[in-house]
Amino acid sequence: MTAVGGGSGLKERLFWGLGSALVVIYALIPVAWTVSLSLKRGADLGDNHFLPRVVSLEHYEAVFRDPQFSAALWNSIGIAGISTLAAVLLGMFTAYAIVRLEFPGRRLILAAALSIAMFPSISIIGPLFNMWRTLGLYDSWLGLILPYMTFTLPLAIWILSAFFREIPWDLDKAARVDGATPLQAFVRVIVPLAAPGVFTTTILVFMFAWNDFLFAISLTSTNDARTVPAAIAFFTGSSRFQQPTGSIAAASVVVTLPIILVVLLFQRRIVAGLTSGAVKG
């Protein structure tokens, strides 16, 4: 490499390095601040220091001692998990049908799905509240799973149909001729190839259900179905004069962990070009 080339390489590296650092710092400062708050002693919360002077786990202890929180955590895991599973599964079948089958109203389904996704959720909260009360779904897991699925399915269908469209149809046909039933062809050939799409969808759907506050606060009233984002709003300080800042920070850190875990776990699987080599190319 020539001196000139080396110089421009260095400049380029510097540019990208600094740029990335800036973005990461910008995105992570609030998170770091929350983590720092969660580790401070109750008395130090307002001490205007970025780093805690004494690291204490008292807020975490308090949070986990609170039965309300552990119940909410369980609700969150269950509701988000089931919603994700159901939305991804249903989305997979729907997207596959839309991509592969010729039937009247294919475009209509896609358009309708998109319009549902665009629907402002706040506008249906009132009617939903009344309906759920009548139907007995209020303050139940199903009462939250249904709206989560409804709002995430369109997204799942759109992402997955984009991925399915990329998979050469010859592969289905080859599997069928090789002796697979339609379901076997789907499960053993198509789904593994659409894996990046399935994981992307899983992450997005899970985050939606996990982070949702609006439905959770409106459609629940007890520990039976209240999820963590809603439960945090019910935290109280140890006395009526104290802000529950520390506990809220600790709870926020705890609920962020699963999201980080899910993303780290699945992002390895989101590798582009998984289909290369299937057909000529």
Binding site: P168, A175, R176, D178, G179, A180, T181, L193, S276, K280
Partner: protein, 385 residues
């Protein structure tokens, strides 16, 4: 081993017939070719046989048993796709053993069969690679391997060579022919390339616009085409075509005139519309002035283009039509015929003739090599039924 019988097989897409009333039998162990220009329905026909496409009308029987409503997985046919359709997330071994796993064969049997297929196709060193790490020819062989491990009744190959480069294509062509002979499995091969069809097939069916025009051995198709399209499609370079006038028992062609036999004369008389004369490039010979008396047609041309291929010499020349109506050949025949008034013809001559561009040369065509077709019906009038 299987015999495939098609009876009045028809496929319609939204009212348009892609395959019309195809009826023929592929014998047990035969290497059968479906050839035709793109869009002639040959792939549709193949897909109907394997079960990927529903049958609108007619019947398919394998060894006498009707299979119309059988799922593709139950037909025990193996198919090689034009795109190879290898499963990219599986290694070569997994690809090849996939049909066996679906058939729930015991593991030792699977291993044995995969090993044998790998040996036949020289895939042993590639078994643990993924398809994306393979070259085109290797992928092709893996696709073949996946087909042969099942020991199916029938092989169906859908333009398997069209994605390979020219040299590899010739190599794989011989390899497929050898493999088929070795295994003796009934094979149906689809191609748009007449050279592949001629070199591989025991018998060939020429398809055009969903219709089977002629079925026969390569030699039959080449020497006795029943049809103007078959005559122009089979053979490379293609047959030469010229317009013909019929006047009082004489055939007048831009390169001369001659009196046909009484038999042919009768059929020409009965034919409606204009006529087309055809002759193969290799039937033209260089003759000297003295050979004037020879039977057939003698005519002088000016050499336009010379292609010397070592063993062969292709000489291209124009013929003035003056007075003859322009030739209307089927469009899908895709024959480069120059402008309407000056059709380009080609002769395959002795390379030692030493011809150059601009030379004048006398050519001779024996009368028996001239074939006559009805332009509208396409029917070959020279052949007796």
């Amino acid at each position: 081993m299987a015999e495939i019988e098609l009876q009045n097989l028809t496929k319609r897409f939204a009212g348009i017939s892609a395959v019309k009333q195809a009826s023929f039998t592929i014998h047990d162990g035969e290497f059968f070719i479906l050839v035709g220009p793109s869009g002639c329905g040959k792939s549709t026909l193949l897909n109907m046989i394997v079960g990927l496409e529903e049958i609108s009308e007619g019947e398919i029987r394998v060894d006498g048993v009707r299979v119309n409503d059988l799922d593709p997985k139950d037909r025990n046919m193996a198919m090689v796709f034009q795109s190879y359709a290898l499963y990219p997330h599986m290694s070569v071994r997994e690809n090849v053993s996939f049909p066996l796993k679906l058939a729930k064969l015991p593991k030792e049997e699977i291993d044995k069969r995969v090993a044998r297929a790998a040996e036949i196709l020289e895939l042993e060193d590639l078994l643990d690679r993924r398809p994306r790490a393979l070259s085109g020819g290797q992928r092709q062989r893996v696709a073949m391997g996946r087909a042969i491990v099942r020991e199916p009744k029938v092989f169906l190959l859908d333009e398997p060579l069209s994605n390979l480069d020219a040299k590899l294509r010739v190599q794989m062509r011989t390899e497929i022919a050898r493999l088929q002979r070795r295994l003796g499995t009934t094979t149906l091969f689809v191609t748009h390339d007449q050279t592949e069809a001629m070199t591989l097939g025991d018998r060939i069916a020429v398809l055009r616009k969903g219709e089977v025009l002629q079925i026969g051995t390569p030699r039959e198709l080449y020497e006795y085409p029943r049809n103007l399209f078959v005559a122009g499609f089979i053979g490379s370079p293609a047959m030469n075509f010229l317009p013909v006038r019929w006047s009082e028992g004489n055939l007048e062609i831009p390169i001369g005139s001659l009196a046909p036999s009484a038999d042919i004369g009768r059929r020409v008389e009965a034919a409606e519309g204009s006529l087309v004369a055809g002759f193969r490039p290799e039937h033209l010979h260089v003759v000297g002035e003295k050979d004037e008396a020879r039977e057939g047609l003698c005519f002088e041309v000016q050499v336009e283009v010379v292609e010397w291929l070592g063993a062969d010499l292709f000489v291209y020349f124009n013929v003035a039509l003056d007075g003859f109506e322009e030739l209307a050949l089927p469009e899908d025949l895709d024959i480069e015929s120059g402008d309407g008034a000056h059709p380009i013809l080609v002769a395959r001559l002795d390379p030692t003739a030493g011809l150059r561009v601009g030379d004048k040369v006398r050519l001779h065509l024996a009368a028996e090599h001239l074939q006559l077709f009805g332009a509208a019906s396409g029917e070959n009038l020279t052949l007796s039924d």
